[in-house]
């Protein structure tokens, strides 16, 4: 009994310590000194998705401005958020996606950009200049964008496949094309549950418990035919012949299709799907905000933006870049979907408390 009490006291003490320490945590928003266009204030720390940046562009920036760029990588928005939300990481520029941008803004974690220091911000296409997740592009400027859809090995299925999410979820289609055990879904609650919602004809930002339950049932039914829930290797799996259809992001599929020996395609199903934009943002506690502004400006340069798209095969939101982008990239409907396709796409939006429901739905569906 006595020992028990002692433990309780220790736990209580630690809890109190935690509260005190947390309440001392820094919440002050640094005003951020004014930066001139092209001004630098030290070496840059860039936190980015892996293989999302042409190393030659980094070198060019270093040469032009005489600073060193350190680039670290993150595998998902969530991991990036977990890390930078603790503060004091020393990173200057990050590249979060749409819904993550709205979270970062509401948490006061990214700076308002000083547009004077980024004269190239006028290059960003009107379509991306006032996104729903960052009205008025106050905090971010678009970096690259793309879609989420389905990659198919046409060598196995034959050239005519129905352009539907049913390829992932429908038992009859799986039977018809021999897909059982050869399907991969993204291991991402919002994307995967979102695809099921779209398949059912709902919005992928639905906050209706009934619709979510239906989507959960669709995925639960498909699980026995799914080989893997995978957010990293979906395109390699298709190319290696391990899967026939995969759920994933446009650029990655294109990149890997080059390696394969079969015929492949990628499409956004007719029911509609996800479009996403990654934006460049500067952390509130960035040690070198001026270099960060200069870097963003550098990447928004017409030719540099084109170089980026020619390198990673994701679409450029930079209107001025278009004339420098390779024609084969511009003509590629996978990278630059038609207007008709675009109209069916939705951004993933932050649903607040409902995020928990999405996560639970996917966990339950897996059994």
């Amino acid at each position: 009994m006595k020992a028990m009490k002692k433990w309780m006291r220790l736990v209580a003490l630690l809890a109190v310590l935690g509260v005190v320490a947390a309440s001392c945590g820094s919440d002050e928003e640094s005003a951020g000194a004014d930066c001139e266009a092209g001004e630098t204030d030290g070496d840059l720390a860039f936190f980015n998705w892996s293989e999302y940046m042409d190393p030659d562009l980094i070198t060019a920036f270093q040469d032009e401005f005489g600073v060193t760029v350190t680039e670290d990588f993150y595998p998902s928005n969530e991991e990036m958020f977990a890390k930078v939300s603790a503060g004091g990481t020393g990173y200057d520029v990050i590249v979060p996606s749409d819904y993550m941008i709205s979270i970062l803004v509401s948490e006061g974690m990214i700076l308002e950009l000083q547009k004077d220091a980024i004269p190239n911000h006028v290059n960003v296409s009107d379509k991306f200049n006032d996104p729903p997740f960052d009205p008025g592009s106050v905090h971010t400027l678009a970096y690259q964008w793309g879609t989420t859809g389905i990659g198919v090995d046409l060598g196995v299925t034959g050239p005519d496949v129905p352009l539907t999410w049913g390829l992932l979820f429908d038992a009859d289609l799986a039977e018809e094309y021999g897909l059982s055990g050869r399907i991969s879904l993204l291991d991402d609650p919002r994307e995967t549950v979102g695809a099921a919602l779209k398949y059912l004809g709902y919005s992928l930002n639905s906050t209706s418990a009934d619709e979510l339950a239906e989507a959960e049932a669709v995925i639960a039914d498909a699980v026995s035919r799914v080989a893997a829930f995978d957010s990293d290797q979906y395109s390699e799996l298709v190319v290696a012949g391990e899967t026939i259809v995969g759920h994933g992001y446009s650029g990655n599929f294109l990149w890997d299709f080059e390696e394969g020996e079969s015929e492949y395609t990628y499409f956004v199903p007719d029911e509609g799907g996800t479009k996403w934009v990654d934006g460049m943002a500067i952390l509130v506690d960035a040690p070198h905000p001026c270099t960060a502004h200069a870097f963003i400006n550098f990447l928004l340069d017409a030719e540099n933006g084109a170089q980026l798209t020619n390198y990673n095969w994701y679409a450029s939101p930079n209107a001025a870049s278009e004339q420098y982008i390779d024609q084969e990239v511009l003509d590629n409907q996978i990278i630059y979907p038609s207007q008709a396709t675009m109209d069916r796409l939705e951004f993933i939006e932050d649903t607040g408390d409902f995020e928990i429901e999405y996560t639970d739905a996917l966990t339950r569906a897996r059994g």
Partner: protein, 310 residues
Amino acid sequence: MAVDAPTRSPGDGPPVLEGTSEVATPGLEREAERAKARQGFLLGLPTIVYLLLFFVIPLGFVVAYSFATRTRSGRTELRDFNLDAYARLGDDIVMTVAWRSLWMAVVATLICLVLAYPLAYYISTRSPMVRNLMLVGVMIPFWSNFLIRTYAWRVLLDSDGLVTQAFEFIGLGDGRILFTSNAVILGLVYGYLPFMVLPLYAAIERIDWSLVEGARDLYASGWSAFRRVVWPLSRPGVIAGSILVFVPSFGAYVTPAILGGNKEGLLGSYIVLQFLSARNGPVGSAVSVVVLAVMLVATLVYFRSGGKNL
């Protein structure tokens, strides 16, 4: 490490009290005991301080988080302390996930034990030079990189992988092993086998073989000599190894994701999902705290009982 270098050793009483030895002895013993206790405490002190600073206090944050509140945007705020997160642990989904993880971890641990014991035994009967070489041989593959190794297994286990073909050839199952729970167990066994081999080796190597010799004279059969002498003497190694394998297997999430295709929820993935995707710090912390508490109690109970059943 030389925190304390006292010149007094247990049993050296001050000689002045000789005349009253009968009365004084208990006091002296107590004093000697106290001196020894102090030495032990001082020896452990740096470790205690380190763990207090860089483990117990951080752990306090997680405990505090588990009673905290998630804001709408997914930040954990240390206010309005409540038990909501713990209330969610009774959900069917958490239970299913927990039982499945437990089952997988137990199977992986048993397989590791069966594979590692004979190997550790064999190693400890070699000459010192060969012994060291073999031990290092056990460790070297694990100095490459966990992720890269696991991806290499993927190549062996996929549809036309070597292992899959070999299994098909000898008629053991058909189709790929990748993305099944067998692949997950294989990955766990591979990943944590050295954690079993090392403590087992450390325990077996230390056995006084003259005891075994005596036992063989007594029982004649090598097997009963093993069962009655070697096995009991190696038990500390068995316990240590089992814990070292069981625990990471129970919380694993990288291996199930890469080799199992993440089809069945496991506890490790559940915690990751709560912390990262749902940004639900309180529930993620509550699951962690409960897992930690259960494991700690199980471990301690196991030690108390002397681990008789392993």
